[in-house]
Structures are given as C-alpha cells and as structure tokens.
C-alpha cells in the first residue's frame, strides 16, 4: 500500500479541525478554552513550560498516555483488518470482553506448576485471543452465511458479552470470589499479570502489552500485504463480486477476517484485564471504551498498521489529557473525558467527510493555477 500525500493530510486536518470544534465548544459553555487545552496537552505529553525556553517533562502523564494507548493499538488493528475486508467491526467491545473473561478465568483458575509457569502468560494471551476470535468469527458467520449485517450483530453481541461477563462474576457466579458479597473476582496473582516495562510512579504502569502491540502491528502489516490470505482479504474488501468471480471463497474470507479482528480485540482484553485491572467486576466489561475508540483509531490511521499505531498514541494521549483535566478546579467537574469523546467523534466525522478538505484544497490549487506562469506560488 503506497502512502499518498492525502493519507497524511486528511488525518492531520481532521484532528486540527476537531480540536478547533472542541475549543469552540468549551468557550461556548463558558470556560477558558486556552487553559483547558494547555492542561490537555500537559496530560498528553507531560510537557509543561515553567518560564524557561524548554519545557519541563513529567513522566506520569506520558506514562499514562502509553498505558491508555496500549489496548487501542489492538482494537484499532481489529477494526482496520475488518475494514480491509469491507466489514465494519463495531464489536471490538464485545470481543475485548471475551478476551478479558477467558484470560481472567485462566489466570484465576489455572496455576501452571513449576517450570511450566513460564507458559502462564503466553497461555492467557492465546486463550484470550481465541475467545475474541470466536466472538468475531460468529459475527462473520452471521454475515457470510445468514446475511445479517455485521454493524448490528456486532453491537448486539457486545451487550451479550457484557452480560456473560457480569453473569460469571455475579454473587454465586463461577468466577466470583466465594464468600464476598461483591460482584467481583479474587485479585489476580502476581505470576499471572502482564509484566511491567516502565513504572514512572507508584500509580502508573506501562506493561509489556505495548511492545506486543508494536510486534503485532508489524505482523498484521505482513499478513495483509505479503500473504495470500491478506491478498484475499483486500480483494474481498475491494470488490466481493470480483473476488467471487476470481474463485475466492468470499464467505470463508469474511469469517477468517472477522476471526482475525476478534482475536486482536481479544488480545486488547487480555492486556487490559491482566495489565490495567487488579480483578474483574460486573462493570469491568461494559465500562471499557477501547473497543469503540478503536474505530476512531482505525479510521484516523487510514486502516494501515503504522497509521493505527500513531493514531492509538494520539487517542491514548487525548484520553490521558481528559483524565488530567477531569478534576481541574477551573473547569466543570468531570468534563474532561466527555470533551475527549466530542473531539474523538469530530475526528471520525472529519475523516469521513474529508471532501470538505478536498474541496478547500481544490479551490486553493485552482487559485494557484490562475496565477500567471512564472509567478512565485
């Protein structure tokens, strides 16, 4: 896939326009928009100017950005892979929940003895990915064989997945901490949690999922661009009729693509459950937003694995910035995350309605052409 100038220009313009809309919005509701964005930027990067020419760097906000970006790399890839097959996967939430459930169950119920312990975490990752893949494949099958539109089935399956999770940890449920009156599991044992690679402070941890995400992004690129399966996925996405005419099994490719997508989202769930949470509760599953944010990540990243990684960092940063301004005295309580939702929605909107930028660009270049030959442009 050649990267065209437009592939860089549209996302950048979309982000800038969305930021502007968010700014106008804060201003209309009567708050200091410049101040809010300064804090948002600090929350994203940890950079803050304190009088000197160069900014001071605080590691905590940046660590939080990396932590929040980690699941988004996976869920962004989950949406992107499906997109390349012409499928719109809004089921990242549910596929992620399945990954959380199964990885959590393995972590709580299975304790590999002695030397086999080194396989504990890989096993959890594999089982979680499989669970997500099965959930994704189900939506793929419903689409390919039963003709049920994946946008609706994946959304519905999200709610079903939340219910399964809540059911398993309910009082008396199979995964619930017996004797507790809360809807929660026991805490995960140290040997089952994701290894931490960076700890900027006592409350912020970046786990190995970040590195895994980068490796998986490279793998997804390889599969999509350099294998027969990837070629089939792209062919089906480009034109299913032509792919069928060319002898491809469109139904099979649809199911496989959704399984791949689900597996990626499942991995996000494993990392989130065993890296960010200490235990599962009945609301752990529905309160995740990474599955939905993955849609924005994929669209902004133009469904390219490298683009997805950058977009995940941006959205992880926005989310971290939202947390930063959530408790800020000068702004209304609790607006930070909501504001970030608005910005995120606007980014998707402007990526989708990129004709706005194209028509402006055309007008500008038309004016450019109208200038006399030889005049400096």
């Amino acid at each position: 896939m050649r990267i065209r100038r437009e592939d860089l220009l549209v996302p950048v313009l979309a982000v800038l326009t969305a930021m502007l809309v968010g700014m106008i919005f804060i201003w209309i509701t009567g708050y200091d928009a410049v101040y809010a964005y300064q804090r948002l930027f600090f929350g994203m990067t940890g950079l803050q100017w304190e009088g000197g020419l160069l900014p001071e760097w605080y590691t905590t906000p940046f660590g939080r950005t990396l932590r929040l970006a980690t699941p988004l790399i996976f869920t962004g890839l989950a949406v992107a892979v499906a997109f390349r097959a012409g499928l719109f996967n809004i089921g990242g939430q549910g596929q992620m929940a399945l990954g959380m459930i199964v990885a959590g169950a393995v972590a709580l119920k299975l304790d590999l003895p002695g030397a086999l312990g080194v396989f504990q975490i890989p096993l959890q990752l594999a089982m979680g990915a499989l669970a997500g893949a099965a959930w994704g494949a189900l939506a793929g099958w419903l689409k390919a064989v039963r003709g049920a539109h994946e946008v609706i089935t994946t959304i519905m399956l999200n709610y079903v997945a939340y219910s399964i999770g809540a059911y398993l940890v309910r009082v008396g449920g199979p995964l619930q901490l017996s004797g507790s009156t809360n809807k929660e599991t026991a805490s995960f044992e140290p040997g089952t949690t994701m290894p931490v690679i960076w700890r900027p402070d006592n409350f912020t941890e970046v786990h190995v999922g970040l590195l895994l995400g980068l490796v998986v992004a490279a793998l997804v690129w390889f599969v999509l661009e350099r294998t027969a399966l990837g070629y089939q996925i792209r062919a089906v996405g480009f034109n299913p009729e032509a792919a069928r005419y060319g002898g491809m099994d469109v139904a099979r490719v649809t199911v496989v693509a959704m399984a791949l997508a689900g597996g990626l989202a499942g991995l996000a769930g494993v990392g989130y459950a065993l890296g960010d949470l200490t235990k599962l509760t009945d609301t752990s599953f529905s309160s995740v937003q990474a599955g939905f944010t993955g849609i924005a990540v994929a669209l902004l990243g133009r469904n390219h694995p490298l683009g997805v990684v950058f977009a995940a960092l941006l959205f992880g940063g926005l989310s971290s910035g939202g947390t930063q301004i959530q408790s800020d005295q000068a702004l209304a309580a609790g607006v930070g995350p909501k504001l970030v939702d608005v910005i995120q929605g606007c980014i998707i909107f402007f990526v989708g309605a990129d004709a706005i930028f194209r028509s402006i660009a055309n007008r500008v270049s038309a004016r450019g052409r109208a200038t006399p030959a030889g005049a400096p442009v």
Partner: protein, 304 residues
C-alpha cells in the same frame, strides 16, 4: 388466576408496548432515511440527544411540550448534519453515523454534567407527557398513542402521497428520479431530517418514561430499532411487528427472574438483560432470510 392474568397477560402486554414504542418511533425514523437511500446508524446518537434535550427542554420551558420540541429538534439538527455529510459531502454513511453517535453522546454527557452538576444530576420532577388511564387501573403514556399514529401516518405518507413516491424513487433509482425532475439532494435532506426528528422523539419517550436523563439509558436501542427496520423489511407495519417482538423480549427479561419454576442460575438478571440483544441477532440471522433494502441505499448520488 386473577393474579396470573394480571401479571402475565395485562402486565406483560402493556410492558411490551411500552418497551416497543421507542423502537417503533426510531425504526420509522430509519425507514424515512433508508427509503430515500441514506443509512442512518446515527439513530442511536439522535435518541441520546432526544432523551437529554427532552428533559432539559421540559425543565427550561416548564412544559412537556417544550421538552418534546427540544428533543425532536435536537434529533433533527443531528439529522441535518448527517445529511450535509452524506448527501452534500458524500461521506461514507456508516462512518458519518458512527461519528454522530460519539459526538451526540459526548456533547450530551458534557452538557448534562455542566448544566446539572453531580451529585444532584438532572431534575427529577420535570413536566412529563400525561398518562392515559386504561381499564383496570393501568396507565399508558400519550406518546404511545402518538407512536401508533406515527405508524399510520408513515404508511399514508410513504405509500399514498406524491412525496412518498418521490422519497421511494430517490432511494431506489436516484438517476431516474433526477431525470424526471425530482431534486434528489433535497428529498434526501428532508428524509434524513424527518428521520432525526422521529429518533429524537423516541429518545424523548425513553427519558420521559423514567422522568430524568441518565448516561447510558439508550444502551443500543437505536441499533435495535435499526434491526427492527431490517427485520420489518422496510415497511411501517413490519417495523411495528418487529419492535413488538423486541419489546416483548425486554418485558419478558424483567419478569422471568420472578418465575420460581426456572432454576436460579438461568433466571439471573445479569443473564436475562442479554435477551433482547440475543433475540435481535437471532431474528436478523434466522428468520428474515435475506431481506432486501432499497436499491440505492448506502450509495452517494452524484448529480450528472
């Protein structure tokens, strides 16, 4: 025996209608839009906006009619934005819809915490649409009657008026419609704005039933309405019937936990909340076969 009839026939029947009403209203909204060739998955976001602005409008104007106007207006405004994006700018209809869902939820939840700071939250006692007494001490919202009326009006408008004929022409074969002088863009704008208004009304109904707005109260209802549209084969009566099925499953899910004949583990409320969503998937996959929508749905039209 009297209790049985009260609980299972009257109670369940009324609950079915109450739960079905927002699916019907939003489903009809989806019908106008898709009949004109525009997929509107933003129904979900329009319902969220309708739900919040109905309470806000009722609070500000002091009357439920004002609330209704705010709720419907908010939905129509989102419809206008969706139309600008998909008709004029030819954006992907699903992407624009997804964006609007996020924008609507973000804006509404931002506004709800700025206008009604926690812990008080939205006012609990705004003016609400009146309830109509039914025989046997039961009551039902006047909006439920409006819902049945909306079905009848939609049938008449879509299938019995020149406007409806143009609407369907634009969704089936925009090129032909354009050739005979129908303004395709204008029809699509009108259809998507009507769609937003109906979805806003559906959202207003949901929050008026409860009496306040809470984050997450729409929870996929817009998508279920979309499923009702497909399951109902893009016909108002089909939408009504499909919505009743989904409403029934929701009403049943609330009642089954009380049935002692079922093993406790199977009637856990956590599991039963999945029932309406599961039924929706099964309905879409199992019984519809391949239901075929308007021919030009999802495709932007470029004036030649």
């Amino acid at each position: 025996m009297g209790d049985f009839i009260q609980f299972w026939i009257i109670g369940l029947g009324l609950a079915t209608v109450r739960f079905a009403a927002p699916f019907v209203l939003a489903g009809l909204g989806g019908l106008f839009s898709e009949r004109a060739g525009i997929v509107n998955i933003a129904l979900e976001g329009m319902m969220v906006a309708g739900a919040f602005f109905a309470i806000y409008g009722s609070d500000v104007t002091g009357h439920w009619v004002g609330g209704l106007a705010f709720g419907v207006g908010a939905g129509m405004l989102l419809g206008l934005i969706h139309a600008v994006a998909t008709v004029s700018l030819r954006a992907d209809q699903i992407i624009s819809g997804t964006a609007l869902i996020l924008i609507a939820a973000g804006l509404v939840n931002y506004l709800s915490v700025t206008l009604y700071p926690p812990p008080q939250g939205t006012p609990a006692s705004v003016s609400r649409p009146p309830l109509i007494p039914l025989p046997g001490d039961e009551k039902i919202s006047i909006l439920v009657l409006a819902m049945f009326l909306a079905v009848a009006v939609t049938i008449f408008v879509v299938f019995r008026t020149p406007f409806g004929l143009r609407l369907r022409a634009v969704g089936e074969h925009p090129k032909a419609a354009d050739t005979v002088g129908i303004d395709v863009y204008r029809m699509r704008y009108i259809a998507v704005i009507i769609s937003g208004g109906l979805a806003g009304l559906a959202g207003a109904y949901v929050s008026f039933e409860v009496g306040s707005y809470t984050e997450g109260m729409i929870a996929g209802k817009g998508f279920i309405a979309l499923a009702a549209l497909i399951f109902g084969k893009w016909h108002p009566l089909g939408v009504l019937a499909a919505s009743m099925l989904f409403g029934f499953s929701q009403a049943l899910a609330l009642r089954l936990p009380n049935v002692e004949a079922i093993p406790e583990a199977l009637r856990a409320p956590e599991l039963l909340t999945a029932l309406p969503y599961l039924i929706t998937v099964i309905a879409l996959a199992g019984f519809v076969g391949r239901s075929v929508g308007p021919a030009a749905v999802g495709k932007p039209y470029v004036k030649g």
